[in-house]
């Protein structure tokens, strides 16, 4: 088998860039965007519920978050597709169930990020809001939540990166995304090494841009907060 290891770029090129792979990439992107649109609002609501200490609702939110965060995504995916969806609809659609499973799963992670952001906001901002006479709801919706969301952008971006990587698991319920498209071409051509490299480069270029963005945002945030600390004594005296 050693002789099999030859890069077959030229003859393989058109296969690798065949419409299937591009379509797969499109599916990956569309899935990621739809999941984000669904799960960021749900995660915000759930994170708020958990951090606000409302008797029954916060316990439920905490239970939901903890359970979903400790099972593997792939198990949740097959549970939704083979276990739950057939009971809800007579004709389960694999794309819908993958979308639903991913959205519910990511909701738990986004909720944790939002909760972390909310926990980081205290002190002078809240004192200022109270002294302006804002009510509790106004403080929550106008001050705390926007601040928490804007501060947790780097963490959210990190989660988006792992979401993009995790969409490769959707192939188990039959969604043809980037990795599955590569699998199909592999089954046709048996040149898997080159294909894996091409797919890896596509994922890498997308995720590396996002992580660079997250990194630069984080360092800017860090600078801002250290400037804030430097200014602090002037306000206090």
């Amino acid at each position: 088998m050693t002789s099999a290891f030859v890069f077959h770029w030229p003859s393989h090129w058109e296969d690798a860039w065949s419409p299937l792979l591009l379509q797969g990439f499109g599916t990956t992107l569309v899935m990621s965007v739809l999941i984000l649109l669904l799960s960021i609002p749900m995660g915000t609501v759930l994170g708020l519920l958990r951090s606000e200490k409302i008797p029954v609702l916060s316990w439920l939110a905490a239970a939901y978050i903890e359970v979903l965060r400790s099972i593997p995504l792939i198990l949740f995916l097959v549970l939704i597709h083979y276990g739950v969806m057939p009971k809800l609809t007579p004709e389960p659609n694999f794309f819908i169930s993958a979308l639903l499973a991913f959205a519910l799963f990511e909701t738990a992670y986004f909720a944790e990020i939002v909760r972390g952001g909310l926990r980081g906001i205290r002190g002078t901002e809240m004192d200022a809001a109270v002294s302006l006479g804002l009510t509790y709801t106004q403080r929550l919706l106008l001050i705390r939540l926007p601040l928490a969301l804007s501060r947790s952008v780097p963490a959210l971006l990190g989660q988006v990166i792992s979401l993009i990587k995790d969409t490769s698991l959707a192939s188990i319920v039959g969604v043809i995304e980037l990795t599955r498209a590569g699998e199909i071409i592999y089954e046709r051509t048996y040149h898997d090494f080159e294909l894996l490299v091409v797919i890896g480069v596509i994922y890498f270029s997308l995720c590396a841009c996002l992580s660079k963005l997250a990194e630069s945002l984080e360092s800017r945030e860090h600078q801002n907060s250290s400037e804030g600390q430097k200014l602090k004594p002037i306000f206090e005296t």
Partner: protein
């Protein structure tokens, strides 16, 4: 007792179901333990290179390339690469070894990133005083700064270990018969998806609670100084 629960208890009392699921569970535990060791080893080596040999541009470039390559591509791709890519190179490893290698290297990148943030939190004076005592760079790294970095980011490392345990379910894609594999096969063969997946999910939840408890206990022991580990300067 609700009917579904009694149904579930009846389901797990079937001997062949219990046997299959337990054998899958043992494979998952084994793979998780082995790849945790590999990830810790790789993470420490990488962070050593990044913090101590950072001035040699080749080493620093290599370690940065390793971390960003593994962090920005899906684990599934690494599993396939180790499983089929190595085969086409003429290296034949068992599926489990491929799984452990891919998981360990993937998590090692995250571990090195976490440890590096721990190193950033250690004051420069620690390093200087180690040198003033006449320790070599390697001695200072392993006896002074590394234990403090580990102590500092133990919760994050524990999270990463739980993530590793959850990610280990992906080795089913390269036909390792782990917990997810056995649960999935059982669900497909017996056509009882809900029962199998709920039992599998509860086992995974138990495992992650267990790892969380171990990390918590370790943290507690370190705080009480029951285990010998340097105390953090200035506290966390």
């Amino acid at each position: 007792m609700p009917p579904f629960l009694s149904h579930l208890i009846q389901f797990i009392q079937q001997p062949e179901v219990t046997h299959n699921i337990l054998s899958g569970l043992s494979v998952t535990v084994k793979i998780t333990a082995l790849s945790t060791l590999l990830a810790a080893f790789v993470g420490v080596i990488t962070v050593f290179i990044r913090t101590q040999l950072g001035h040699i541009s080749l080493f620093s470039w290599l370690s940065r390339a390793y971390v960003s390559l593994f962090r920005n591509t899906p684990l599934l791709l690494h599993l396939y690469l180790f499983y089929r890519g190595l085969q086409s190179l003429g290296i034949n490893l068992t599926e489990e070894t491929c799984g452990v290698l891919a998981l360990g290297l993937y998590t090692g990148a995250y571990v090195s990133e976490i440890l590096r943030s721990g190193f950033l939190a250690i004051p420069r004076t620690q390093w200087d005083s180690g040198q003033a005592l006449g320790m070599s760079a390697i001695q200072v790294f392993f006896w002074v700064t590394l234990p403090q970095a580990i102590r500092y980011c133990l919760p994050a490392l524990g999270n990463q270990s739980i993530n590793l345990m959850k990610n280990s379910s992906l080795v089913a894609f390269i036909t390792v018969e782990d917990l997810f594999f056995t649960v999935y096969r059982g669900a497909v063969n017996d056509f009882r998806p809900v029962e199998y997946f709920i039992v599998g999910a509860s086992l995974y939840i138990t495992l992650s609670l267990l790892i969380g408890a171990i990390v918590h206990g370790l943290d507690y022991c370190l705080e009480r100084r029951w285990l010998r580990f340097p105390k953090l300067v200035g506290g966390i």
